[in-house]
Symmetry: C4
Amino acid sequence: MTKTRLEAFSDGVLAIAITLLVIEIRPPEVHEGERLAHALWAQWPSYVAYLVSFLTIGVIWLNHHRVFEQVARVDGPLLLLNLNLLLWTALIPFPTAVVAEHLGDPGQAARTASALYSGVLLLMGLAFGALFAWVTHTDRLLHRLPPPEVVRAARLRFMVGQAVYAAAFVLSWVSAPLALALCGLMALYYAFDQASVPAEPEPGGQQPPDEPSSWK
Amino acid sequence: MTKTRLEAFSDGVLAIAITLLVIEIRPPEVHEGERLAHALWAQWPSYVAYLVSFLTIGVIWLNHHRVFEQVARVDGPLLLLNLNLLLWTALIPFPTAVVAEHLGDPGQAARTASALYSGVLLLMGLAFGALFAWVTHTDRLLHRLPPPEVVRAARLRFMVGQAVYAAAFVLSWVSAPLALALCGLMALYYAFDQASVPAEPEPGGQQPPDEPSSWK
Amino acid sequence: MTKTRLEAFSDGVLAIAITLLVIEIRPPEVHEGERLAHALWAQWPSYVAYLVSFLTIGVIWLNHHRVFEQVARVDGPLLLLNLNLLLWTALIPFPTAVVAEHLGDPGQAARTASALYSGVLLLMGLAFGALFAWVTHTDRLLHRLPPPEVVRAARLRFMVGQAVYAAAFVLSWVSAPLALALCGLMALYYAFDQASVPAEPEPGGQQPPDEPSSWK
Amino acid sequence: MTKTRLEAFSDGVLAIAITLLVIEIRPPEVHEGERLAHALWAQWPSYVAYLVSFLTIGVIWLNHHRVFEQVARVDGPLLLLNLNLLLWTALIPFPTAVVAEHLGDPGQAARTASALYSGVLLLMGLAFGALFAWVTHTDRLLHRLPPPEVVRAARLRFMVGQAVYAAAFVLSWVSAPLALALCGLMALYYAFDQASVPAEPEPGGQQPPDEPSSWK
């Protein structure tokens, strides 16, 4: 199993999961005497859930590449840890659909939906953290282990994500919309964090292994 | 993040979105005493919507490559602008389903469906235009900035698309079928415009960076 | 637009279309007092339709590569003709679902479903024939135009397919199962025809352009 | 048809099949006065079925690469045998959905669902075994036929899988959950078996053809 194939398969799963999100947004049922515009408006939780999940999976994809850019070898545990990450990521359309259906509900249903949603994201975050910890626990899988402080900073970023998803999980019992907003902010933060990575050098000039700039 | 991976992921999302369109065409419910042929015929809006959306996503794919053929480097904002384009493109199956269900309705429902459809296409067009503006606002991301008049002509083509989608959005309140036809014509125009691009040179002989013919 | 990207996008659409077929097979509704085994058995048309369509799309994929192995350049009309082929191929899950639902019905519904199915396959066959005719109408797009008798034989094979699908379309009014069986036999014939192509040479030793053996 | 394209198409189908599993997990219907948390809990068979099928398809993907790493040439029968393997693998979401719906049922329905599930896995296992037997029946398709005892050991591993799926099929009539657990254990066993494969050498240093270590 080469790294290229692992990446191609992961890219495939992530591209499909992100595109499948749309099939959870159904044309609304229009009740007798209701206007279509009103019925479309009433399912705003579907649109919010689509947006947050799209951003989240997009960011998982960005981070996945960021990590694997540094990886030189793939071993058995890494294969399993990657499959574990894909398992939770490919599951995201399900809690997205539950949130879409129940975020507008009064009472416990919205809170349960939101707890399910942030719970799945938390498990995804833990799976990603475990993969990252395995990759960096030695320099056997990397081109070269980056300086300890760089690894520590990158691990911290993963732990911030996990803490935020855990906070969203707890916050679900207080306010479902707030918890979902927190998940969305997390995705936005990661996205703009990525956006600050400088442009790659000219193609052909591949990133030298001794310059793991993308983790800084 | 290299350009190759950005393209592979985008290709994946576009290929899935274009193929998912078909699951919005369901076998019709056949009422007591109705013939299947009649029931199949009655859902003609589904077929029209499939055709227009298939062409539209196909053309997005063609234009996406046309732009990225010229791109030499990928930076953070380009990643986000591309994710934004994919977000609106991957959403297209939803308004397609709404149009399929309501285009044949009398009154406001058809108009609302058509406005939703052209509204999403307009937002997609604006996202594509923003991506293109970022790519061409300097020569930092390109092999070489093409002559100003070529860039201006290409920008004009994007703005024509946006203007047409905006016109379709407004036209929705007058006639839903006309608005949808306008979206279809737009896709056809882009498709045949692409068809006039001359054949690539022999493979192996990669297009030299100083001949950005595909924008002319 | 290079040939590689055209192939990658087409492969993506074909892989998705062939895998989407399964979502048309739903767990059966089990009526009061009915056994699940019986209900599963009762939806045998779904399994037959899955099998025939899977084979058909698999064979389209095989033939697509067979043709594009010979192609050296991609021009605008070829892009559009390929998009046209994908449009009909990506549509196949829809008539498959209609056949699955109505093949067991008495009377006209089964015949209509079968006519729809073979009609879509016929249009797909015509689209593929048009693409092939364009590719071979001159040697501008090929590494080297193969001997006229080879081209003629390959065109004949396409026309046989179209004739068989046309026959299945007509046969639908006589017997829906027979028409479907004919479509299945067609796919089997193409599949085993492909199976007779000799093994490729060692990788690295790419097929020389002046030996278009795969059309013989 | 080159090996690269066969692998790319197979990877596509496997990535889509594994990601499509999630659309079988629907947001539950919440009955009057029921809590959403309870309704979510009540569909635990869906989660179990997702987990087992995800692992199974993941392992099929791992084994597929393990076999094709050794393959040097693709011939016609191999194409058909691979299409046959994909046919059964792409079908897995269907029995998964049946198990998800009926595993919690009392009586025969759960047993039938479980028999269908392990039956499809058995047919998939036989298809994979046939493919492997064809690949190793001579050294015509391989870089070099590995030592007979290595081939024999690898064949034995395939036959163990088939025997376990056959046992699960029979066990279905005794206990549906036990049969499903057996299928899950099988996937786990294969997964951890893979995990023991040592890390690949540095990229660029491709695995030499005379060292088929991945079969040992």
